[in-house]
Every structure is written in structure tokens, then in C-alpha cells.
Amino acid sequence: MWLSLFVSILLLATIGGISHPSAQSFCHAILTVICIITGMDNALDPEIAVASIALSFASGMFLSVLLRHQSFSRSFKELFSGLFFIILMVALIVYILPPSLPRLEYGIVLSIILIGMVYSVLGKTIGGQIMGITCALNALTLIVGLNGQGMAFIALLAFYSVFLIMSYIIVSRLGRF
């Protein structure tokens, strides 16, 4: 129940956004950490869950510092497209998954990824685009943290590293937006 609640708050934070990507990055990272903690009892590998917590927190802090001069606002088009994708994805997942599984959480996590993709596509500012990808990656961290085994975390860490390096390069090249 607590996991559902915090995943829903994570979803709201993804859709609503905050004008400053720096603050949004921090909030999103904290919420992701809380989601993993609430779901830790059922995690497949507790070590991976702890490592995912550390990864999400560290990347959130890095992006908060990197995007401190950026700002953006969400348009109505983006907000409505986000809402549309939530309804679509949650309905689809609840229909497809068997009743024994946490259907609502899977649906919400998938919608966060889709919304992140949509916001990254529609975002006109570098900050908005980076935050869209960050939302999707945080949702993936949630999945890996609770369901990952073996090399999954190493691969996730590598994904994050590549993304953070390229974000740093693009922010330093294209400057303020």
C-alpha cells in the first residue's frame, strides 16, 4: 500500500514538474529512494536495492548541481499528454497483468517512463529535456532496484554514467536556456 502511495506521488511529481529542473531533480530522486525503501521487503536482491538507492540519490544530486541555472515551465499540451499516457498505460497494464501481480505499480512506472519520453521530446529547453530522461531513468531504477538480479545493476550504472556525462557536455556546450 505504501509503495502504491509513493509511486503515485512520484507520478504526480513527474507530470506536474517544478519550474527549476534543479529542484525537480532533487525531489524526484528523493521520491524514487522512498519508493525503493517502501518496496524493499519484496525486493529480489536487497543489495541491488540499496545500490539503486545510492545511485538514484547520487545522480539526483549531480543533476541538481548541473541544472542549477536552468528553468522551464510545463505547457498545457505537455500536462494533458502526460495525463493521457497515465490513463492509457495504467488501463492497459491492469488489463494485461495477472491479478497476482502489483498491476497498479507496474502501470504507473511504465507511464512515468512514457511521460518522461514525451516530456523529453516536447521539451524546448535543455533542462526540460534532461529532466524527461531523468524521470524515465529513475523509473527504470525503481524496477531494477526491486526486480533486478546479477548484472542488471552494473548495466544500469553504465547507462546512468553515459547519460550524466553527455548531460554535462551538452549543458556546458549549449549553455543557459
Binding site: I96, L97, P98, S100, V121, Q129, V162, I169, I170
Partner: protein, 441 residues
């Protein structure tokens, strides 16, 4: 026997280590001329190493993560040939681009990036694990973005960033779909396997370059510096197509053939509509056309004809994609007639170019899905008509003895005659092993 096994392993890892060694060699050279020569030598020797690795048919086991089957060796050989061809064209077709007036460093970084891209793609085609394969594909996209940044134009940086973003996002979607497929029990969820499979396969074919990602793929390839443009046209697509073909090894994977066929046909239509754009050379779109045809063959990768035609199209992709991008630079006087011969090779008409690959695919499609076969055939005929109307196909007006036309002829002849002559039985064997391993008929 043990010696042969060791030699096979040495050559297997040599395909990855040699480009890295080449980077050190290029870095150590002084002056642009020396670097250009070193680059040429490294690229040619890589073809030799990949060919020797392919010839050693000893089936050794590397690890669970890295596969060493015939398909991997074939893909590595094609990448080495494509990289070598790109170097050859750069040296003989557009040599001015190997020499910058003032900035020696730019050539250095471009050449280092070239070989790093080749090394990473050699690793990517060998990865037997979806996570690791997608990770290498994302790294390749990041390196291409770096290539655009090295070119130093703002439009290039934005194009590179857009492309990297999309590749990363589709990779994340593919990973989540793989998690759903692998981690979730499917006993009482009849649609789960199908839904996850659709999500997984569609994400991967988008990364390969099908519409609408083909717009961003085209955007980034046109913004890359010329040293990287030739390989930029296939260096992500070949490992992504390999990952797509290997999806059959994932348990419970159920591809949605109809949706993938629709996406491939949409990409072909996109190519036809854009080839009418007189501002842009038709040659730049040939990589998208070949990727679409490869995916169309790859949809049936659990049957011999499907994987066989996909391999033939991959061979055409690594030859014609660098050719197309290099020739779109308008470097030479007889550009029109050279373009004409390349477009004829890519039209599917006998006996040149992609005719053999197209005939295998169409023969199979006419057997199992005659409507789809008919639609694709009609699209290729429409495309041929559009190109003739556009007036770029001038074949017989120019002197065929000129050096540039000889170079183009020899490349087309290599792909049309030499490859099928020497490699068709090997590719058929690879296709049989692939189908035997991953199921199907």
C-alpha cells in the same frame, strides 16, 4: 587443435583490440599525412583480422555474455569491410577532408573516434545479453553525439543530442519490456508476452532507424564530420539489427509480424517521399532503405530465408551506406553518372547491387504473405520511376574510363559478384545454425 582454438580466440578478441591499438598508433603519429596513412593501414589490417577470424570455423566458447558463433564473426567482418570502405573512399574520393588547414587536432580526434566506434561496435555485435547489447548501442549513440560536437556547429550539437536522447529513451523502454517478459510469470496472463514483445521489438527497430526515428538518424548522419559520416550510417544500425534478430533467444518472445512489417513499409514510403526532395541527395536515404529491407527480412528471422536475406541486406548496407554519404558531398565532376550507377545498384534491378537479397526476400514473401510481397515490389517500382523522373540517373553519357567511375564500379562489382561468390554458402550455413539454435523452420 588447442593451438587452433587459441588462435581463434586471439583473432576473436583481436577484432576489438586492433582498433584500440590503431588509436594509439594514430595518436603517436606526427603530422596529418602520417595520421591519414596510419588510419588507412589500420582499417585495411582490421579487414584481414576479421576475415581470418571468420575463416576459423572452430566453435569455441567464450562466455555466457559473449557469443562466438558464425553470425557474430559474419557481422564483425561486415563492419570491418564497411569501415575499410569508408577509409578507402575518404582517401581516394575526398582526400581534402583528411587535411585541415590549421587544426591538426580535429583530424586526430575524428580518427580516434572512428576507431573507438569500430571497437565498440565489434563488442556490441558479440553481446549475447540484451542489457549489455543495449548499453553498447547507447554508448555508440553517445560517441556519435561527440562526433557532432567535434564538428563544432550548433545545429550539429542539437542533432546529436536529439538522436542520443531518443536512442536512450527507446533503450530504456526496451529494457522495461524485457523485464516484463523475463521477470513476470505468464501462466495466467495471455496478453503479457505479446504486449512485452511488441514493446521490445518496436523499441529496438526504432533505434535501428525505422520511421520516425529515421528522421533523427538522417539528421545526425548529415551533421557528422566527413571522416565519420561513412561509418555513422551503419555503425549503430548493424549491432541494433543483430540485437533484434537475437530477440528470438528470449523465452516467451512472440514477435508481432504485422506491426513490424507495417513499420518497415512506412520507412520505405518515407524514403520514396524524401527522395523527391531535390535539395538533398537521394544517396543519403539509401541507408534507411537498406535498414528497412533488413528489418523486413529479420521479421522472419526464425526461418532460414528471413535470416539469409537479412544477412545479404546487411552486406549491402555496409557497402552502400558509406558510398552514399561520401558521394553526396559533390566532390567530383562526374558526380551525376556515379550517382546514377549507385542508384541503379540500389533499385533492385538485376543483376547488380541488392538484386540477389531482394529476390530471396520477395520469393519468401510471395510464398507466405503475397500481399505484402506485392506491396513492397510495387513500392520499389514506384521508387525506380520517381528516380528516373528526377533525372539523376545518367548512365551512358560519361566516359566510363575515368578513375572515379572505375572506383564506383569496382565497389559495386565487389558487392554484386565477389560477396555472393565467396560468401553465399557461408551465409547460408550461418542462417541454418541460427535457425537451429533459436527455433523455427
Amino acid at each position: 587443435m588447442a593451438t587452433l582454438n587459441d588462435l581463434a580466440k586471439l583473432l576473436y578478441w583481436g577484432c576489438v583490440i586492433w582498433p584500440l591499438v590503431g588509436m594509439i598508433g594514430i595518436f603517436a603519429c606526427q603530422g596529418q599525412a602520417a595520421r591519414a596513412r596510419c588510419h588507412f593501414v589500420v582499417s585495411i589490417i582490421l579487414i584481414v583480422i576479421a576475415a581470418c577470424s571468420a575463416c576459423l570455423a572452430d566453435d569455441f566458447f567464450v562466455s555466457v555474455v559473449w557469443s562466438s558463433d558464425g553470425f557474430t564473426r559474419f557481422l564483425r567482418l561486415t563492419i570491418a569491410i564497411g569501415a575499410g570502405l569508408s577509409t578507402l573512399l575518404l582517401t581516394f574520393w575526398a582526400p581534402r577532408n583528411l587535411f585541415f588547414v590549421k587544426e591538426d587536432k580535429r583530424l586526430l580526434w575524428n580518427l580516434l573516434l572512428f576507431h573507438f566506434l569500430v571497437a565498440i561496435s565489434m563488442l556490441a555485435v558479440a553481446a549475447n545479453n540484451l542489457f549489455i547489447a543495449l548499453l553498447f548501442i547507447v554508448i555508440l549513440a553517445a560517441l556519435l553525439m561527440l562526433g557532432c560536437i567535434l564538428n563544432q556547429g550548433e545545429s550539429g550539437i542539437k542533432a546529436g543530442w536529439s538522436y542520443f536522447r531518443f536512442v536512450l529513451l527507446f533503450a530504456v523502454l526496451a529494457l522495461v519490456a524485457a523485464f516484463l517478459l523475463a521477470s513476470v510469470p505468464v501462466d495466467n496472463a495471455p496478453f503479457l508476452a505479446q504486449f512485452s514483445s511488441i514493446l521490445l521489438s518496436v523499441s529496438i527497430v526504432f533505434i535501428a532507424g525505422l520511421f520516425p526515428m529515421s528522421i533523427f538518424f538522417l539528421g545526425i548522419t548529415l551533421e557528422l564530420p566527413l571522416t565519420l559520416r561513412g561509418i555513422g550510417s551503419f555503425i549503430i544500425s548493424v549491432p541494433t539489427i543483430a540485437t533484434f534478430l537475437r530477440l528470438y533467444q528470449i523465452p516467451n518472445y512472440q514477435p508481432s509480424e504485422n506491426l513490424l512489417i507495417i513499420l518497415a513499409i512506412t520507412s520505405v514510403i518515407f524514403v520514396i517521399l524524401n527522395e523527391q526532395n531535390r535539395q538533398r541527395s537521394s544517396l543519403c536515404l539509401c541507408s534507411i532503405l537498406l535498414i528497412s529491407m533488413t528489418i523486413l527480412g529479420g521479421v522472419f528471422a526464425n526461418h532460414i530465408e528471413g535470416i539469409y536475406s537479412a544477412c545479404l541486406f546487411i552486406m549491402a548496407l555496409v557497402v552502400f551506406a558509406p558510398l552514399g554519404y561520401m558521394m553526396s558531398q559533390n566532390q567530383k565532376e562526374d558526380q551525376g553518372s556515379c550517382e546514377g550507377w549507385v542508384m541503379l545498384a540500389l533499385s533492385g534491378l538485376p543483376p547488380m547491387g541488392i538484386f540477389w537479397a531482394c529476390s530471396v526476400l520477395f520469393a519468401y514473401l510471395m510464398q507466405i504473405m503475397p500481399i505484402v510481397g506485392g506491396i513492397v515490389l510495387a513500392l520499389l517500382l514506384i521508387r525506380g520511376y520517381v528516380l528516373f523522373q528526377k533525372g539523376r540517373t545518367i548512365f551512358f553519357t560519361q566516359d566510363v574510363s575515368k578513375q572515379e567511375i572505375k572506383l564506383i564500379f569496382s565497389i559495386i562489382a565487389m558487392q554484386t559478384v565477389l560477396f555472393p561468390l565467396f560468401m553465399s554458402s557461408w551465409v547460408y550455413q550461418i542462417a541454418s545454425e541460427f535457425v537451429k539454435r533459436y527455433g523455427g523452420a
